[in-house]
Amino acid sequence: MKYHLVVLGCQMNMSDSERVKSVIESMGFTHTDNEDEASLLGVLSCSVRQKPIDKVYNRIHVWNRQKNKRNIITFVSGCVLPDDREKFLKLFDFVFPMSELGEFPQMLREYGVASPLSLSQDRESTHNVEDVLSEVETKSKKQSLLNPLTKYSASKPVLPNNKDIFQLWNVKPQYQSEFEAYVPIQNGCDKFCSFCAVPYTRGREVSRPSAEIIDEVVQLMKNGYKSITLLGQNVNSYGLDRDEELSFAELLTEIGKAGDSLQNPSWVYFTSPHPRDMSRDVIEAIAKYPVLAKQIHLPLQSGDDKVLIKMNRKHNLDRYRESVADIRELIPQATLFTDIIVGFTGETEEQFMNTLQCFDEFQYNMAYIAMYSPRPGAQSYRWEDDIPQATKKDRLKRLSEKLEEISAAYNHRLLGKELQVLIRSTERKTGFLSGHTEGKLVTRIKSKDQSLIGKFVKVKITESADLSIAGELVTVLKDKRIPVSAD
C-alpha cells in the first residue's frame, strides 16, 4: 500500500514532513510521487497565505471525487486556521494537529483502516512502528481512544494546543537528504505581528528539550551531514518559555562545543530569528565556534519605525541597528540576509524610502522581498489593503534592484578568492553543479561530476553576478574547513 504526501509552505512543514513520513512508513506504507496509485493521501497545509489553502481545497475535491472509484483515506495536518479546520473536518477523513502525529497509527486503526503491517504477521516489522514512536508518550496514546473525527468538535478548544508538541519531536525523522537536515528546536509564536496568522495556527512558543536537540545535531554531524538548520518560528526565542532550559545562546554554545569535539564537520544554521531576541551573546557564540555558520538571517520587514509599530514587530530600527553593528564587529565575514514586506497597509513613499535606505546601510547579501497581501486570521486582514498593486510592484522592483546592486558589489570582491562550497545539485545549465558557500551565496562550478553532490569542495571564484558567484573546482575537501574571508 502506498501513500502520497503534499507538503506546502515553509521549511517547518518540510521538517515536519520528515517525521510524518517516518510514522506512515512505520505502518508499512511506501511513498509514491504518483497520487493516483496511493491509498493514503495527505497534505501538510500552510495557512499563512491564501494560495496554499486554495491548493488544499483543490486537492481534496479531486481526491473526494476519486473515492467513488477506489478506496482512499485522506488526512490534513500542519498550519490550519480555526476557520479552515472546521471546513476541513467535512472534507478530510482525518484532521489533526502536528502535535498528535504520534497517534496517527492508532487513529487509522480505530477508523478501521488496515495498514500494510496490520495485515502482516511480521513481528519485526511491527516493532518498526514502536521504534519510530519509541519515545512518544504512551499516556497520550491511551487518550486517543476517541473517534478521530470528533477530535475538533465544538466542545474542544479551537486554538492550537502545543502541549503535545513534544511527541512530534520524539518521532525519528526520515531525512530527505543525505547531507542537509532540518532540526526543529522550537514551535509556535508569541509575537503576534499584525500581518501574520502563525500564532493562531501553530500556537504559542514551546521549546524542545535541549538535550534532544544536541543529540540530534551530534548524530547528524557524525553521520556526515554538511548543512544542519535549527528551525523554529522564532528560533532565538528558544528557552524563554522555560526557566530550566538553556537560552538560545547557551544552546548554540553547546552545539559549538560539540562541533569542536568532532572537528567541525558541518555548517549549522538557524532560521527564523526575531530581531527582538538577537542578543549579543548569540552573536558572540556564532563568532566563537567554527561549526556555527557565519550567515545570519535577520528579518527587518520594514525600515520605518512607524510601520514597524503598526506591524507590531516589537523592535525598532535602533534595536536592529545595534544587532547589525554587533554582527559586523564580532563576525565581519558574516553574510546578512533579511525579509521585507513592501506595500504594507498605509506604507507611504517616504516610509518605503526608509526601507530602501536600510539596504544601503545594512548591505544585505540576500533579501526575501514580498508584496504585502492580507492573510486571513492576521490582525491586518481587518484593515484596508490600501496600497495599489502597481505601487507594490514598483517598490518590489526598486528594492530588488537595490539588493542586486549591493550583492553584485559584494560578489565582485570575491573574485580570485578560494572559498569552501557545499555542492547541492546539478545546475539546469548542462555541465554545471550548484551549491553554496558558508554564507549561503549561491555558487556554480564547471563540473559534471555528480558524485560531488553532498560534498565540501574548494572553489576559486572566477565570475560574479548580481545574486550569485561562479568558479572553478580546486579540490574536494575531506570535511576540513578553510577560513572564509569575504573582503
Partner: protein
C-alpha cells in the same frame, strides 16, 4: 516565565460595565501563573474568532480580569459584552514580554503612558507591585474613561483629557509629553494605539532620550 501554560476553558464570574462601551470581564484564573503585563488570547467558547487582551487584574487576585472596549461592528467584543456569569471563555496564554522587572523598578523612574484601554497592563503592574515608583500618564477623551483611577496614587497620576477640561491636563498625551521633563534614566512604557506610540516615541527622542529606554505594547 516559570512554566508554559496551555489554553483551557474558564468560566465567567462577572461582567462590570464601566461606560456604555467599555467593560471588565472577570473570569476564573484556575491558579494560572502570569507576569503582570502579559496578555491572554481570549474568545468565547466554540467561537473561531479570538483577540488578545492584556491582563487587567493583579498578581494576587484570585481571578483574571480583562478590560475591553466594544467595537460595535467587531466579531468578538459585542459577544464578550453579552457574557453572563457561568459562560465559558477559551483562553490561551499567558504570553508576551511587556513586563517590568523588580531591578528596573528599583533603579529607574518608571513612566507609564497609555491611551484608553491601554491602561490595562499598567493596572496589573500597579496592583501587583503597590510600592512601585511610577508616574502614570493616561490619555482619554473624557474623564469617564479614566478606568480604575481610584487604584492610582493621585500624585503619580496625570489624566489627559482631549475632549473636555475635566482631567489634570487638557489635551492629548503627546501634548503633555511635549511640556514635561523626565530624568535621563527614566524608563518609558507605552501602551495604546500605534499612532500615539510612534508620536510619543518621536517626542521623547527629540528630548534626547534613547529608544532603548522605551518599551511598547500596541493595541489595535
Amino acid at each position: 516565565m516559570s512554566e508554559t501554560y496551555y489554553h483551557n476553558m474558564h468560566k465567567v464570574l462577572q461582567v462590570q460595565h464601566l461606560t456604555e462601551h467599555t467593560f471588565v470581564v472577570q473570569f476564573e484564573r484556575k491558579e494560572m501563573p502570569f507576569i503582570p503585563g502579559q496578555h491572554l488570547v481570549v474568545g468565547k467558547k466554540g467561537d473561531k474568532e479570538f483577540r488578545q487582551y492584556s491582563i487587567y487584574s493583579g498578581l494576587n487576585d484570585p481571578h483574571f480580569e480583562i478590560l475591553v472596549r466594544e467595537v460595535e461592528t467587531g466579531l468578538v467584543t459585542p459577544k464578550l459584552k453579552q457574557l453572563k456569569p457561568g459562560d465559558e471563555l477559551e483562553i490561551n496564554g499567558p504570553m508576551g514580554y511587556f513586563t517590568v522587572s523588580e531591578q528596573r523598578c528599583l533603579n529607574h523612574p518608571i513612566v507609564m503612558i497609555a491611551t484608553g484601554t491601554g491602561i490595562a497592563p499598567f493596572n496589573s503592574w500597579v496592583k501587583s507591585f503597590p510600592d512601585m515608583n511610577y508616574k502614570m500618564i493616561h490619555g482619554v477623551r473624557k474623564a469617564e474613561e479614566a478606568y480604575g483611577i481610584d487604584r492610582y496614587k493621585k500624585d503619580r497620576f496625570v489624566l489627559c483629557t482631549s475632549q473636555e477640561k475635566s482631567g489634570n491636563f487638557n489635551g492629548r498625551v503627546t501634548d503633555y509629553l511635549q511640556k514635561a521633563y523626565f530624568p535621563s534614566n527614566t524608563l518609558f512604557y507605552l501602551c495604546g494605539n500605534s499612532e500615539m506610540i510612534f508620536d510619543a516615541m518621536e517626542l521623547l527622542k527629540d528630548k534626547g532620550l534613547n529608544t532603548n529606554q522605551m518599551f511598547a505594547e500596541v493595541y489595535f
